[in-house]
């Protein structure tokens, strides 16, 4: 029974990891930017949510309405200034600049908010409650909600990219920037929109993780960024549904690892990641196989 439980929990945490990963995947797919500050920005979103909730006493769910647009705006601004500036120079500079941002944000959080971890207290019975399946399997409502949110976000992204006007622009610019520019698209603005979308998902991921577990300044890199990356690589670069599958595989691997030895949770996930890297470097669902 323990194994079945582990797999169910793993699948559900996979939704959370897919939420971590989709912003990373989107920014790479569109701008060829690997944002090394991805995880730290998620932690920033979580901290902002905690701040907003403590100051204004609004219900937790309302904080999403404030923090997600705020982060999206930050994404647009960062993309149009620092990240675009770095992109204009070279991919190498982009990496160096986002890595610099990551270290600065992480140490800034450490300096201002100490190394203590903090959770986003929801006070909602829906969030802290759980239901039981059979006699031993206990499933938290929160994880189910997060999984559902991840699926909705992925579906929404998919729909946005394939159907909407901006989605078409984003795909056009990602496919051939010069041709899109000749057709009148301002690629910088389009990149900004894509970054805003990615940062919106980053905010969702940060707040969701803060509700599910605890946020500390180092969570951004040692959990969010690395798990997001592992999910992207396992699933296959550039495929949104591959990202969900990658998140689920990572989550299941971690839960099975934890089942074997409680301290091996993270290690088991990484070992599966390395195995995929060696045996199937294009990921479980590769873009080439799809088309």
């Amino acid at each position: 029974m323990g194994w079945v439980n582990a797999i169910i929990q793993g699948v559900l945490t996979g939704g959370l990891y897919a939420l971590f990963a989709c912003g990373l995947s989107l920014m790479f797919g569109v701008m060829k930017v690997v944002n090394l500050a991805h995880g730290d920005l998620a932690v920033v979103a979580g901290y902002v949510a905690i701040g907003v909730i403590t100051v204004t006493h609004i219900p937790v769910l309302w904080s999403f309405l404030i923090v997600v647009p705020l982060m999206a705006l930050l994404g647009y601004v960062l993309q149009r200034t620092i990240i675009q500036g770095a992109l204009d120079r070279s991919v190498l500079i982009t990496l160096l600049v986002t890595f610099g941002l990551s270290v600065v944000i992480e140490n800034g959080l450490l300096q201002f908010f100490s190394a203590n971890s903090r959770a986003i207290g929801t006070g909602l019975s829906l969030v802290s409650g759980s239901f039981t399946l059979g006699s031993q399997i206990q499933i938290g409502y929160l994880l189910v909600v997060i999984f559902a949110v991840a699926v909705v976000v992925l579906l929404g992204l998919q729909y946005f990219l394939s159907r909407s006007r901006y989605g078409r622009l984003i795909r056009a610019v990602a496919d051939d920037r010069e041709a899109a520019q000749l057709a009148g698209a301002d690629y910088r603005h389009v990149f900004g929109i894509a970054a805003a979308l990615a940062f919106g998902t980053v905010a969702l991921a940060g707040i969701a993780y803060g509700m599910y577990s605890q946020l500390s300044p180092t969570t951004g890199t040692d959990t969010i960024l690395l798990f997001a990356f592992a999910a992207v690589v396992i699933g296959g670069l550039g495929s949104l549904w591959g990202t969900l599958l990658g998140g689920v595989v990572l989550g299941v691997a971690q839960q099975i690892g934890a089942q074997i030895n409680i301290s091996d949770e993270v290690l088991a996930g990484y070992i599966v990641f390395l195995a995929v890297l060696v045996l199937r470097p294009q990921g479980l669902i590769s873009r080439r196989a799809q088309s």
Partner: protein
Amino acid sequence: MSLVSETTARPAAGFRVARSRRNVAWTGAAALIVVVVLAFFPYIVYSGTTTIVVQAFIVLTMASMWNLLAGYAGLVSVGQQAFVGLGAYFVLILALHGISPFAVLPVAAIGCGVVALPLWWLVSRLRSGYFAIATWVLAATIMLIIEKFSSIGGGTGMPLPGLAGLSPALLTAYTYWAGLAVTVVALAAVYLLLRGRLGLVLTAIRDDEVAARSSGARVGLARLLVFVVAGAGCGAAGALLAISQLQVQPGAVFSVQWTAEMAFVTIIGGLGTIEGPILGTAVYMVLQQTLASYNAWYLIILGLVAIAVALFARRGLWGLVDEHLHVRLFPVGYWLRRDGERPRGLRRPAKPREQRPG
């Protein structure tokens, strides 16, 4: 196996390719004097000062290796802390078996170079950003594996044995000399590598990878060589770190902060120049010493400066020096000269070379 499968390039008639000799002789002499003066430091300064200089040696060695990776081979590794940690653990494990930590230093470096081979195989197919995070995941994985062995301290680490017999003064002096030796060997290795075939191949890759491949440069082999050397160098720095701290703690030696420091030091000093990390280390030490009582602030400021330098002064501080004074302490490039023209040391290459990612 040679780095270049066949050589077809010849300078056009009427030109010849030369390296300024005079410059090298002068800098060689100056470097020798600097090293000799540094070697006498333990006799003339307080042990507090030598401890700080050892820290600078560690940072300089790491930064030179990172510079080789990112500045010359276009490999942005965010996982060099893997080798720092492994170097420290090589020292700890062999010290637990009764071997003197100082004797282990070269073993740790070679060991890390050997470990770099399978790791390269894992990450070599990834490019730029994905290479960066994959090395980071590798470092995290190696730390998690090492933490599983309780005989070497598990998750909490343990003090380094084998040095208790030395008097404190002697220990500081030995550590200092070991640090000096590691740094000199590391810098000399980087210089000689870049002066030789490898430097040429790397420059070719940086300027145009496809063109380099089609003219016979073995791109993969050149990158492998750089990754192994950088692994060995960071391993030596990690071994030195273990000796200077007298304890090995997995969270500390495998911290991504090491890679942050190497990257910032290199970017600020000047990516893709041998002089850059030296200048960057000086800036680092000044910041770190003045802001020592403000916890992580030195790293925040260093990071902000590095971002600004990466965006607005790509060639770093050394680039500024070079622009105004036209000097190269470690000339690894070549000048193209007309026949009969006298070599002049104070000539710059026609155009600052573009950094290209791998």
